[in-house]
């Protein structure tokens, strides 16, 4: 009926005739659909823009699960071992490709078997398919709930596919286990047959291959089951002590898988129609949003397996967070882990293990407790070390609680910030600085009030600005991190290094160090006063002892900061020397303005009032002084800085990789700068190079 009413008319000619009435540059459009809207529209049927057109490209018909089964193009049973291995490996590759930011439609769901796993006859493939869907399900939940992804990291949409909802997690697991048991029996049977036939079988390559294939498939089943179980444990934060074992089983299985990837059916990369049994790369093309087709290349098996290997390693690392008590160590842990540029899944898992903003156990309350302990260890505020103060004065105790309650959110957000990808983190750090600036403002008030209350109370030690100093310590660290991530993301031009390192050297590290030394003094005072109370006579002796033991805890941190401070100083002076020798390419003068650039580069610090931002004029006056000095003096001064950095590094106890690497940088730069001071390569036309391969923040200087 309806079809009769609709009449299709070819309007091409009338349209072309009508267009003639428009003059050059005229465009007829609806008022609500202007050029801006037109820009984001796609031209239908243009294969470069219309994702759906890919389906019409070849003669091949794209079939979904049911169609393929009906057309006898998709078998559901009688798979060879080779086929099962090939399908499994490709499925894992798809999963990994999804985890690298592509859509499920173009990765995991190109596997037709995953559309209807219950229709699969082969029990191995059925179990593999069900558990893969369950993995997708738990991964999607983990990443979505952790909330540390952006559109470029992860695409959670499942496009309405059923993630094997009718199978419980334990059912999926037991299905795989059944298969594993069966296959192990086969393996044993084959092995015993071989040993019976003995000598004859040794040369029987068929039997050898069969055995190899069986153990290859067996490793894959084991891997999938244990990986699923591992993800579930972290998701539920339940029986976490099982995890290390699950990880090592996965790692062992993965090693076998890596060696046996060649045993499976291999992908056909030339013919998309025959990519792999059961896969149709374009089956979901029409589900994609009407935008330009994003190119998705399924990762190779090799890439996928090495991703899994690294992922397991990362998971092993993040599990350590559950054993950390000290809040500073937790912050440090998050920051260090983020520095290794981990994948979105491991970043999310870490948030699940410690994400007090979104999850309980440990929640905000637990975090506050560990913060209190850290503040106590850091600066020993009398209100925390001396229990009687709080118990005697309710107002003081309320103030202390208020302070920590107020801190909880910014610090928990800071932990979450660490979960985002490094590129986004820089923007977020700038926002964190604003939040911490507000926190600092309130903390100063709280400090002053507690201080006044304590004085009335007649305590032995004064409260002073204990809490503010603790906040200052974190603000300085945040500012340093903000500047340093610019190096990691390769944002700074070489001609900017001078003011960047100057700011680090003259101010940021200095502020951090002064907050630390103030804290150290407080702690020493606290220990002295306890010792005093304990025994009046030996007070002076004990005091000296106490000082020593406590300062030890600070030693490493302070030495490392001093080393970094002097490294930064060294770079600043070298840059000044290079500038005097006119060895740095500078930008075209017409629009380049150093003062404007400087202001914008440090604009994120504007919200912080203590320490207040350093004005460009201050830098300018220093750089003007350097500009009239002979460059040899500047290189000599730089050599001194690198030498000092080296001296600090050499006394740091322990042999950590980080320290060893910085030491290498300090030593190498010292030699290079010495050469520069002697006039080496002075006339060179090659600009100096800065090699960040050893450390992302402190480069090795190279001159030719």
């Amino acid at each position: 009926m309806e079809e009769k009413e609709t009449e299709t008319v070819d309007i091409t000619q009338p349209f072309l005739d009508a267009v003639k009435s428009l003059t050059l540059g005229e465009l007829l459009h609806d008022p609500s659909f202007g050029l801006f809207e037109a820009m984001s529209a796609i031209e239908m049927m243009d294969p470069k823009m219309d994702a759906g057109m890919i389906c019409n490209k070849g003669k091949r018909t794209i079939m979904n699960f049911d169609q393929a089964v009906e057309a006898n193009k998709l078998k559901l049973d009688d798979f060879s071992m080779k086929e099962l291995i090939g399908i499994t490996d490709t499925t894992i590759s798809c999963l990994v490709t999804w985890l690298e930011g592509h859509s499920l439609a173009q990765t995991v769901f190109t596997n037709l078997y995953l559309h209807k796993p219950s229709a699969i006859g082969n029990k191995y493939l059925k179990a593999i398919s069900v558990v893969t869907l369950k993995q997708v399900d738990v991964i999607e939940e983990c990443v979505s709930k952790a909330g540390v992804f952006e559109e470029e990291d992860f695409q959670p949409s499942v496009y309405g596919y059923n993630l094997a909802a009718s199978f419980s997690d334990s059912k999926a697991s037991s299905m795989l286990r059944e298969c594993e048991d069966e296959i192990q029996k086969n393996e044993k049977r084959l092995k015993s047959q071989r040993s019976q036939m003995n000598g004859l079988a040794a040369g029987d390559t068929d039997a050898n291959t069969e055995l190899e294939e069986i153990s290859a498939l067996s490793a894959r089943l084991k891997f999938l089951r244990n990986l699923h179980s591992l993800l579930l444990h972290v998701w539920k934060r339940d029986n976490l002590n099982e995890c290390p074992k699950l990880i090592s089983v996965c790692q062992e299985s993965l090693a076998v898988m890596q060696k046996s990837a060649n045993l499976g059916v291999q992908r056909d990369l030339q013919d998309t129609g025959n990519f792999m049994i059961g896969f149709e790369l374009y089956v979901n093309q029409r589900l994609l949003p009407p935008t330009f087709p994003r190119s998705t290349r399924i990762k190779s098996v090799e890439e996928a397996f090495s991703y899994m290997d690294a992922f397991l390693q990362r998971t092993k690392t993040i599990l350590k967070v559950t054993t950390i008590q000290n809040f500073h160590s937790i912050l440090e842990f998050f920051n260090t882990f983020s520095g290794s540029q981990p994948c979105v899944l491991s970043r999310s898992l870490l948030q699940l293990l410690y994400g007090p903003l979104r999850f309980k156990k440990p929640g905000l309350e637990d975090m506050i407790e560990s913060m209190k302990e850290s503040v106590k260890g850091f600066i020993a505020p009398p209100v925390l070390t001396n229990k009687t103060i709080c118990s005697q004065n309710r107002e003081i105790s309320e103030c202390v609680e208020m302070f920590f309650d107020r801190c909880a959110n910014p610090f928990a957000s800071l932990l979450m910030t660490c979960g985002h990808n490094r590129a986004r983190q820089r923007d977020r750090l700038a926002h964190m600085l604003e939040e911490f600036a507000n926190l600092q403002y309130e903390t100063e008030r709280i400090d002053a009030y507690i201080h006044s209350l304590c004085q009335v109370d007649g305590g032995v030690r004064q409260h002073g600005n204990c809490f503010s100093n603790w906040i200052l310590y974190h603000i300085s660290k945040l500012m340093i991190r903000y500047v340093l991530t610019g190096f990691e993301l390769e944002l700074y031009s070489v001609h900017e290094f001078a003011y960047i390192y100057w700011y680090l050297y003259e101010f940021l590290y200095g502020w951090l160090l002064s907050s630390l030394s103030r804290a150290e003094a407080y702690v020493a005072e606290a220990e002295a006063s306890t010792n005093c109370e304990k025994s009046g006579k030996k007070a002076s002796k004990n005091r000296a002892k106490g000082n020593k033991s406590k300062s030890k805890a600070y030693t490493k941190e302070i030495l490392l900061i001093q080393a970094e401070q002097h490294l930064a100083g060294g770079y600043f002076k070298v840059m000044m020397g290079f500038m005097n020798d006119k060895r740095l390419p500078l930008p075209h003068k017409e629009f380049d303005n150093e003062s404007v650039r400087y202001r914008h580069r440090f604009a994120a610090f504007a919200s912080i009032h203590n320490p207040s931002p350093v004005h460009y004029l201050q830098y300018k006056s220093i750089s003007d002084i350097s500009a009239v000095q002979p460059s040899v003096n500047l290189f000599v001064a730089a050599a001194r800085s690198f030498h000092q950095a080296r001296q600090y590094l050499e006394v740091i106890p322990g042999a950590e990789k980080e320290v060893a690497e910085l030491l290498k940088i300090a030593k190498t730069n010292f030699v290079v700068v010495k050469l520069l001071a002697s006039g080496h390569t002075k006339e060179s036309v090659h600009p100096p190079e800065f090699d960040f391969s050893v450390d992302p923040h402190f480069p090795i200087i190279k001159v030719k």
Partner: protein, 164 residues
């Protein structure tokens, strides 16, 4: 061609730089730019920029042949900044290393500065070394890294030149 006075055309190193005049130049601009792009643009993308900001589109001509083009826009960003944006820049492969790209960029910066722009931004692939060199030589710095920004999964950099 119309008289050079009206176009404020300039000649440098044998290349004539002119402002955009009419839709009849559109196919030439598209042809030139399309070659360098990893992502397709529909004709409406060109029209959006060029019809709205015709004065911010400059062409480099070698005789009658178009060998370079730049397409920009200028509007208020986040209600505070007057932000210039370089949407497209292309130079004919055979004419590279003649400063045609830099000259086009400088011409457009001048035009935008005259209209009181606070800053000028653009995005480029982190792997596009020649574009990075060109812009950085003119004082642009890398303001942000954009993770997997392009359809092909490559990171981009947002380059920025602060004028104020």
């Amino acid at each position: 061609m119309v008289s050079s006075e009206e176009n404020e055309s300039t000649v440098s190193d044998g290349i004539r730089y002119i402002s955009y005049e009419s839709e009849s130049q559109m196919p030439g601009i598209m042809k030139l730019i399309q070659k360098d792009l990893s992502e397709p643009y529909s004709i409406y993308t060109y029209r959006y920029f060029i019809h709205n900001w015709p004065k911010l589109c400059f062409l480099a001509m070698d005789g009658e042949e178009m060998v370079g083009a730049i397409v920009c826009k200028l509007d208020v960003h986040k209600q505070i900044n007057k932000r210039g944006y370089i949407a497209m820049l292309a130079v004919d492969e055979r004419q590279r290393r003649r400063k045609i790209g830099s000259t086009l960029v400088l011409k457009s910066i001048r035009a935008m500065a005259e209209e009181d722009a606070d800053e000028i931004v653009l995005e480029t692939e982190i792997t596009n070394k020649s574009a990075l060199r060109l812009y950085e030589n003119l004082g642009f710095v890398r303001d942000k890294r954009l993770f997997r920004y392009y359809l092909n999964g490559v990171d981009a950099l947002r380059l920025k030149l602060w004028l104020k």
